[in-house]
Amino acid sequence: MKTLILSTILKALAPLFLGFAVYMFFRGHDNPGGGFIAGLIASIPLMIHSMVFGYRATREKFRINPRLLAGLGLLVALISGLFAVTMGDPFMTSIWVEQKLPLIGKIGTPIFFDLGVFLVVFGVVLQITFLLTEE
């Protein structure tokens, strides 16, 4: 389904989607948002790309194996929970760096957990998309 309109719009919208995904990702700690939604939003441009240009073209641009991303995401989320155990706290306890950083704010283990969720969702959605468009 190669249409001029979609392919033109995609060029304009892809950066917007990715930017919005980043925004949603960092917004997620206290407000609606977070890794899950960010992962979904970030996968939209690639889904549209594979709808417009076909499976092969997308895989040429995006060479990483999505299954690997999902696996890494799970690993990151797991490790973020294990941090607390090394400090003697129960699994998944949030640990924060005292120092505030400009723009982002405080850094803590929840951001790594969210990063893991982001990767899992992103990877799984892309995997499903690629499997469906591969036919």
């Binding site: 696996g71 129960p90 699994f91 306890t93």
Partner: protein, 504 residues
């Protein structure tokens, strides 16, 4: 030192870590096999560690993320859950070893090992969680993984069995979820310990029978209680033996575990009503399960109907609701998991001899494969309850508990069912083992006794391992019985559990 190791979380960690690495090495089924073996082996060790630490230090509690009990997610390991985690570790380890030579390369390529690990993850989580909604989530993890396992390989009978299995599982999940909703509406609690308090203080006790019925139906379908068992004989015999054996041994028992947990900790407001319903259901389950088995002529179908029948014994122990009966139920659970799984594994080995599960086409196993026959005798006669094998002790304790609470009728039913079990076990014995092999099938024999062992040594060794464990709990039953009695005392005194989860 020993209590500093976080044993409650350890079994869950090793499984999920194994799963993650299996995903990362998706294309390499040999590496997946190795990862799965290591992680299941570690799971078994973690199970031993958990049981030891619970035995020494009492109930172990973990508030995940440091959110205190009624609000956060709580993992609790009392003796009963620790025993269950350990036995599931034994089973998972044996099945993984068995699957090296049983599961085809094709099935391994499509992710047999990662799905196996994630299913064990769900099973272990169900045993350890202390929160009803969390329990539902763990159940779903386990069920979704088991759906994948049951259709893995895409053969027609598998898909046919899976449809029944999936639909009934969805219905049962619906029941459980509805029950949780109603319970939350009445009491405002989801944490099991808090629920237990809330229910004992609830002013309108009659109302509580409604969620109790929903949980009874939901977990009853999962445990295959009468009249909700029809999905089990339809679906369990279809996948390869490793998968069927694991499900037969473990998944229905998770349903029994949930029933025991709910009807000792939470729904004890009206024992006269709820537990008599359970008693009636258990008697009918035993009886109709064994009758179904008598009509079958396929090795795995007979065994599947027997799962149903044996579930009745465990629920009978719960329904009698005395310390001795519950100890009997726990002992019976362990015995049944070992013996039943081993029978499935043996049916797989017997199938290797000439390619059939159908009893009319099998034969001559006793003459050609004496070792396999010995393994079968140990497990089958243990299942039937011949003294001094382990099934006898289980049934003996249950019958004794039945006499003590003057429920003579259920004891009579259980003894009759034991007799009928013996009948269908000897039917397998006569047809597959003693009688000569039909002439037409003789040319299909692929192995003799030694070459069978040489080419399928992992299958035979795992079966020997389970048979040895059965022998151990048969000839030295005191260890397990005293452990079960301690676990039963904990179950019947919910204050111990509540005080551990909600410290004052």
């Amino acid at each position: 030192m020993i209590h500093q190791i976080p044993f409650v979380q350890l079994p869950l960690w090793v499984l999920i870590t194994g799963f993650v690495f299996c995903i990362l090495f998706w294309r390499y089924s040999k590496i997946q096999e190795m990862i799965a073996t290591i992680s299941v082996g570690l799971y078994l060790l973690a199970g031993i560690g958990l049981l030891v630490s619970v035995y020494q230090n009492g109930i172990q509690v973990l508030q995940v993320g440091k959110w205190a009990a009624p609000f956060g997610i709580t993992l609790v390991a009392d003796l009963f859950s620790a025993i269950m985690v350990l036995i599931s570790g034994v089973l998972a380890f044996t099945i993984t070893c068995y699957s090296f030579q049983d599961i085809s390369a094709e099935r391994k390529k499509y992710g047999f090992y990662p799905v196996l690990l994630i299913m064990m993850f769900g099973v272990c989580g169900s045993f350890l969680t202390g929160d009803v909604f969390n329990l539902y989530v763990w159940f779903e993890v386990m069920l979704v993984a088991s759906f994948v396992l049951i259709v893995l390989g895409n053969t027609k009978p598998q898909l046919e069995g899976a449809v029944k299995y999936v639909i009934l599982s969805f219905i049962s999940s619906g029941f459980v979820l509805t029950g949780i909703g109603i319970l939350y509406n009445i009491t405002g609690a989801l944490n099991m310990a808090e629920l237990s308090i809330a229910i004992s203080e609830c002013p309108d006790k009659k109302l509580l029978s409604i969620p109790a019925v929903f949980f009874f139906m939901g977990f009853g379908i999962k445990a295959a209680l009468f009249p909700l068992f029809s999905w089990l004989p339809a679906s369990y015999p279809t996948p390869p033996i490793s998968i069927g054996g694991l499900m037969a041994g473990l998944l229905t028992k998770v349903g029994v575990y949930a029933l025991i947990r709910f009807f000792t900790l939470i729904f004890t407001h009206d024992v006269a009503l709820t537990h008599s319903v359970l008693l009636i259901a258990s008697g009918l389950t035993m009886f109709f399960g064994v009758l179904g088995a008598a009509a079958q002529n396929d090795f795995r179908k007979i065994l599947s109907f027997h799962i149903v029948s044996q579930i009745g014994y465990m629920v009978m122990g719960l329904a009698l609701f005395t310390p001795l009966a519950l100890a009997g139920a726990i002992y019976f659970l362990i015995h049944n998991i070992l013996a039943k799984t081993n029978l499935f594994l043996i049916s797989g080995i017997v199938k290797e001899t000439n390619g059939y599960f159908n009893l009319s086409k099998l034969g001559g196993v006793y003459k050609n494969f004496p070792l396999v026959s010995v393994l079968f005798v140990v497990s089958a006669f243990s299942l039937a309850g011949i003294p001094p094998l382990s099934g006898f002790w289980g049934k003996f304790i249950l019958a004794k508990a039945g006499f003590e609470s003057e429920q003579y009728f259920i004891v009579a039913v259980s003894l009759l069912v034991g007799f009928l079990t013996l009948f269908s076990m000897s039917k397998i014995w006569l047809k597959a083992f003693w009688s000569p092999m039909p002439e037409a099938e003789k040319k299909r024999i692929k192995y003799n006794s030694i070459s069978l062992f040489k080419s399928k040594y992992f299958m035979v060794l795992s079966s020997i391992f389970l048979a040895l464990l059965t022998m151990f709990i048969s000839f030295y039953p005191d260890y397990l019985i005293s452990l079960s009695e301690k676990a039963a005392v904990q179950l019947l005194n919910p204050e111990i559990y509540i005080n551990a989860v909600l410290p004052k």
